[in-house]
């Protein structure tokens, strides 16, 4: 539709020219060869100069700029990548250090515990020994006391019985005869009293 109008109006415009401006130059100025040579000359001149300047001076610069920007961007990307890798490595290192120190802390704790346990055991042993010694000594003492006990009792018995006799009889009795009787008695009844 638009195209139809387009071409119709072009046709119309030619018609218009023929009708109204027949007196003027007439037809298309493009077909008037008066300035053809001039146009060719100036075209070759301007286009040639433009081509030379563009191809020798400007386009290499633009391509250089594009190239250098590309390489710089690539370089920057590479550098960023490298830094990322570095940081990754550092992070790993850091993690390793942390886990290592955790292990170390663990082992130190364990060692300390073992040491403490050992200390406790040793001290307990020492204490046990001491206690054992003390017990043994006490037992010895008891034994000694137990051994001495019949003699003392005998003695007490002899003395008490001699005094009793003295009070009852009113005369001094020979100690040796009393002790002989007590000894005899105690030997007979010793087993009953002391459980030996």
């Amino acid at each position: 539709m638009v195209k139809k109008i387009y071409f119709q109006s072009i046709f119309f415009s030619f018609f218009f020219i023929k009708e109204a401006f027949a007196a003027e130059s007439g037809g298309m100025p493009q077909l008037n060869p008066e300035f053809w040579v001039s146009q060719i000359f100036w075209l070759i001149l301007t286009f040639g100069i433009m081509y030379l300047v563009l191809s020798k001076l400007i386009l290499p610069k633009i391509s250089n700029n594009l190239e250098s920007r590309k390489s710089q961007v690539l370089e920057n990307i590479e550098a960023a990548e490298k830094q990322r890798e570095d940081s990754d490595a550092k992070l790993k290192e850091y993690d390793e250090i942390i886990s290592k120190s955790k292990l170390e802390a663990n082992s130190i704790f364990n060692q300390a515990r073992e040491k403490a346990l050992k200390n406790i055991v040793a001290k307990r042993e020492v204490l046990d020994k001491q206690i054992d010694n003390e017990i043994a000594e006490a037992e010895k003492e008891i034994d000694a006391l137990r051994k001495n006990a019949p003699n003392k009792i005998n003695k007490i018995a002899i003395e008490t019985s001699s005094e009793l006799l003295q009070k009852l009889i009113g005369a001094e009795v020979n100690n040796s005869s009393i002790s002989a009787i007590v000894d005899d008695l105690s030997k007979r009844n010793g087993d009953k009293y002391y459980g030996n």
Binding site: Y6, S9, I10, F12, S13, F16, I17, A20, F21, E24, S25, G27, M28, P29, Q30, L31, N32, E34, F35, W36, V37, S38, Q39, I40, F41, W42, L43, I44, T46, F47, I49, M50, Y51, V53, L54, S55, L57, I58, L59, K61, I62, S63, N64, N65, L66, S68, R69, Q72, V73
Partner: protein, 244 residues
């Protein structure tokens, strides 16, 4: 002058007449706009390539985007072998684009609306491509006219058609650009004329049409420059990589 839709294409002398032998090479309005286009291209790309900052400023971005745009266009259509011709195709694209765009400014002259200009460009491309083809492939370049897989009976006909199509390349290339530019600008002038003649009562319709046409013409200006450049790439591709 103003009322004639074709008078915008008039070439007139600016300054004195310059003659070299029998040839008149006077400075004209066409020359003026060729110089304007090339100077603005050179200025833009000069400023766009001066500083090389990692974050490009606007003009540098413009220059670099154009560079990558054209270089991608060439590598897509003609492959890596076309790299030595990058500067030429880039200049060609920029020259046609700027001439077209300068023509979109009111009261300017459109260099590319003249058949002689586009024909010289197209003829140069045609001759250049043909020479490159013969240099690269010798007489084997003539195989371009003999497509493979065609029955022998049809071959004479096909070869003739291929030769005609090959020879008509410069004509189609130049006429395409010239006709598009001329038709568009004529249209705009005609509708502009309607606005005046219909006055304040009926002039709004052609005015709105004219506004829409301006947008279309800017698109066409870019598109035709692109088509011109990409067809050059395709012709170059034929010469560099003989596929037939």
């Amino acid at each position: 002058m103003a009322a004639n839709p074709m008078s915008q294409f008039d070439v007139y002398r600016i300054g004195p007449e310059i003659k070299v032998g029998a040839f008149d090479i006077s400075f004209t309005n066409a020359s003026l706009f060729m110089i304007l286009s090339t100077v603005s291209i050179l200025l833009i790309f000069n400023f766009g390539s001066k500083k090389n900052s990692i974050l490009p400023n606007k003009i540098q971005l413009l220059a670099e985007l154009s560079y990558t745009f054209v270089s991608k266009m060439i590598s897509d259509t003609a492959g890596s072998k076309a790299k030595p011709y990058f500067a030429f195709i880039f200049s060609l694209f920029m020259f046609v684009l700027f001439c077209n765009m300068f023509g979109m400014i009111p009261y300017t002259f459109t260099v590319t609306s003249h058949i002689i200009v586009t024909f010289v460009l197209a003829a140069f491309i045609f001759i250049g491509v043909t020479v490159i083809g013969f240099i690269k492939h010798g007489f084997g370049y003539l195989k371009l006219f003999v497509p493979s897989g065609v029955p022998a009976v049809l071959l004479p006909l096909i070869v003739v058609i291929e030769i005609i199509s090959y020879l008509s390349r410069p004509i189609s290339l130049s006429v395409r650009l010239f006709a598009n530019m001329m038709a568009g600008h004529t249209m705009m002038k005609v509708f502009g004329g309607f606005v005046i003649s219909l006055g304040i009562v009926g002039g709004w319709l052609p005015l709105s049409f004219s506004v829409a046409l301006t947008g279309l013409e800017i698109l066409v200006a870019f598109l035709q420059a692109y088509v011109f450049a990409i067809l050059t790439c395709i012709y170059l591709n034929d010469a560099l990589n003989l596929h037939h």
